[in-house]
């Protein structure tokens, strides 16, 4: 199966230039300008195959100007690449794509870097969740981050990384959403954020897949007298769950599973005794 990666355009797939592809020297990368100009094909297996991948950063990098018209223009550009045969996958990544492995991870709907079990295992519930950094000048985001770290608990020993990731993702979302140096008025920013949200919902309804920290595709708004806008607070809470969902651990499929009897539900036990798994 084939993943289609269009050349860099309008803030999307910024990495996808001929020199970058050439530097990979990977036989899975195919280029046929006669057949598909401006598109690089990558052979891969799995559900992400057959899609058109667009790696995008923050919304400000995508819009020519901060207006609903520019947003509509960007959405039209995405729609123009979307088809039943090769539906678009918008993979939000705020880091530069630097390797094929990273690209394929994003194409699979996961986040980069992937879950590092060795690093996670180096910590336990006894370790404090680290303080979170926010962009300078964001008093509300600073208050949010401090309150979050003060309240968060690690309930089970192996879950420290989950708490740390959740705290980091929620705080980063708030920091992205609260504009300390706005280009537009608060009212215009609010209109634009709402329009972005509607546009993403419409794209998804059309069959476009979105992964990664999708709140980055919403135009930032200023804090309201030191308080967090309601929709932004909900975005940050959702981002905690999305971060988990898109950064799971890969357990070996053939790993031995020894289930202590006391942890085994009676129904599953009966099924196993009957020879069914």
């Amino acid at each position: 199966m084939i993943l289609q990666v269009h050349d860099a355009r309008a803030g999307m797939n910024a990495f996808a230039v001929p020199t970058w592809w050439a530097s990979l020297e990977d036989e899975r990368v195919i280029r046929d300008d006669d057949e598909l100009p401006d598109v690089t094909l990558v052979e891969l297996a799995g559900p992400s195959a057959g899609r058109t991948l667009l790696v995008v950063g923050a919304v400000a990098e995508l819009l020519a100007e901060p207006t609903p018209e520019a947003l509509a223009s960007w959405a039209e550009e995405v729609r123009a690449l979307h088809s039943d045969a090769a539906p678009v996958h918008l993979a939000v990544s705020l880091d530069e794509v630097t390797s094929l492995e990273q690209l394929l991870t994003l194409a699979s709907g996961r986040r980069w870097p992937p879950f590092d079990v060795r690093a996670a295992a180096a910590r336990t519930d006894a370790d404090p969740v680290p303080q979170q950094s926010v962009t300078g000048g964001q008093a509300a985001a600073r208050a949010y981050a401090d309150a979050l770290v003060a309240q968060v608990e690690v309930l089970l020993p192996p879950s420290w990384q989950t708490a740390a990731d959740g705290a980091a993702e929620a705080t980063a979302c708030i920091s992205r959403a609260l504009d300390a140096d706005p280009d537009v008025s608060a009212a215009d920013a609010r209109v634009l954020r709402d329009a972005c949200r509607s546009t993403l919902a419409e794209l998804e309804a059309d069959g476009v897949t979105i992964s990664g920290p999708r709140d980055a595709l919403l135009w930032p708004v200023p804090a309201e007298h030191g308080q967090i806008p309601i929709d932004v607070a909900a975005d940050a809470a959702l981002e905690v769950m999305l971060g988990q969902l898109e950064r799971p651990a890969d357990l070996a499929p053939d790993r031995p599973v020894v289930v202590p009897l006391e942890q085994l539900p009676a129904r599953a036990l009966l099924a196993r005794l009957g020879g069914r798994r």
């Binding site: 295992a121 979050l148 309240q151 089970l156 940050a236 969902l245 357990l251 539900p265």
Partner: protein, 409 residues
């Protein structure tokens, strides 16, 4: 209420709520007093103050997503057996879930508990339930704004002018037609086996005192614990829950993940944090207060006529002095950073509680499965490291043993 005559020995008292009538407080009081209750021959069985899953399984015929109906149905019968085995003077079960019991569920409860069952129903003025019940809905399911919801709930009159369930939050009147609830259980159990306790929110000893009377306990033995996890939400907190629930109640979010991480995660996170003192409380418009008091008066009349024993003053159900803060909330678009953080903290805390058992729960949602995979991977790495360290230690001991032999030999 201290003059309430005690129920006879051999009775099983089953408290059926309904919701928002002090059930959590009473369950907490009974739970914390279990050793003292035993001295008076009272048994309150179970492993928690409220065995809600077991109660749901038997009364409603379903359990929350991710849980096993069969397991919790059996759990309920085990609770009854535990209670019987202790041969108490009076056994007590309490769950607001029973107020919504299906006909089969109600019959199953009464049949299992036997003819000496006494049903206790706690009632509060409808006017005091509107705000708290709307807030509860905002934590569970998508609901309209408060004013709009009130117009639907209080305007859904049948031809006879009585409030009826509609399509929006139909459980409200299913739970809070307290008059019909009393009539139903009088019909099922008999008027002499039903007591109605009218809760007066101004008297914090009133409800425990009524239970002390029914159970033949000394004054002051039942003390509801201070429950900071069940506090009312501020108006901005309710709005942020409404926003979050609205976004996670449908695909691609699973109901199991929604229940675990939003309903019992984010909402609990908000309630666990102290409320922002500057945040506005939820206000109930005057027209809604008037209508709710009118409905309360009608309910009081029917409860009084039901034949059930009434403990307390039914006139409270239409007493304007008990009405909540009147008014209309100004539009709110933002929330205190601490409360916004508490929302996320509730989810994070629930995530960190996902157990690294060898296999994830069968009915776990995608988010829970992802968290489980991470925790399981860490646990397996720790186990592998411990096994390797153990093997290294054994090898080192063997080498040392052989070295000692060579030196000696």
């Amino acid at each position: 209420m201290t003059g309430t005559p005690a129920l006879p020995a051999g009775t099983t008292l089953v408290h059926i709520g309904p919701y928002k009538t002090g059930t959590t407080a009473m369950q907490g009081a009974l739970w914390e007093a279990r050793p003292a209750l035993a001295e008076y021959g009272i048994v309150y069985p179970g492993d928690a103050a409220h065995e809600i899953d077991a109660s749901m399984a038997v009364a409603l015929g379903y359990v929350y997503a991710g849980k096993s109906l069969d397991v919790y149905r059996q759990r309920w019968f085990d609770l009854v057996a535990e209670m019987r085995a202790a041969r108490p003077r009076i056994g007590v079960l309490s769950s607001e879930v029973y107020c919504e019991a299906t006909d089969d569920g109600a019959r199953a409860v009464l049949d299992a508990l036997g003819p000496q069952t006494h049903v206790v129903i706690t009632v509060r003025p409808i006017v005091r339930l509107l705000g708290s019940q709307w807030q509860q809905y905002t934590q569970n399911i998508p609901v309209p704004p408060y004013d709009e919801w009130l117009r639907v709930i209080l305007g859904q009159d049948s031809e006879g002018g009585e409030p009826e369930s509609g399509t929006i939050t139909p459980s409200f009147w299913r739970r809070h037609r307290h008059d019909r609830l009393v009539e139903r259980w009088v019909g099922l159990a008999g008027a002499d086996r039903v007591s109605v306790v009218v809760v007066d929110d101004r008297d914090h000893r009133g409800l425990p005192a009524a239970f002390e009377g029914l159970l033949g306990l000394p004054d002051g033995l039942l003390r509801p614990p201070a429950d900071k996890t069940n506090r009312s939400l501020t108006y901005p907190e309710a709005l942020v829950m409404q926003e979050l629930v609205g976004r996670t109640s449908a695909a691609p979010w699973s109901s199991a993940d929604h229940a675990r991480f939003v309903r019992f995660g984010a909402a609990r996170g908000l309630q666990a944090a102290p409320p922002d003192p500057r945040a506005e409380r939820l206000l109930t418009p005057a027209w809604a207060v008037d209508r709710a008091l009118e409905i309360g008066a009608g309910m009081a009349e029917r409860i009084g006529a039901s034949g059930a024993r009434v403990i307390g003053d039914l006139a409270l159900l239409s007493d304007r002095a008990l009405a909540p803060a009147e008014g209309e909330n100004a539009p709110v678009g933002a929330i205190d950073p601490g409360a916004a953080a508490a929302l996320a903290v509730g989810i994070i805390s629930k995530l960190t509680g996902v157990h690294p058992r060898p296999e994830h729960r069968d009915l776990a949602g995608p988010v829970e499965r992802a968290a489980w995979s991470r925790h399981r991977a860490v646990a397996e790495l720790w186990e592998a490291d411990a096994a390797r360290d153990g093997a290294r230690g054994a090898a080192a001991r063997e080498i040392a043993r052989r070295a000692r032999r060579r030196i000696r030999g």
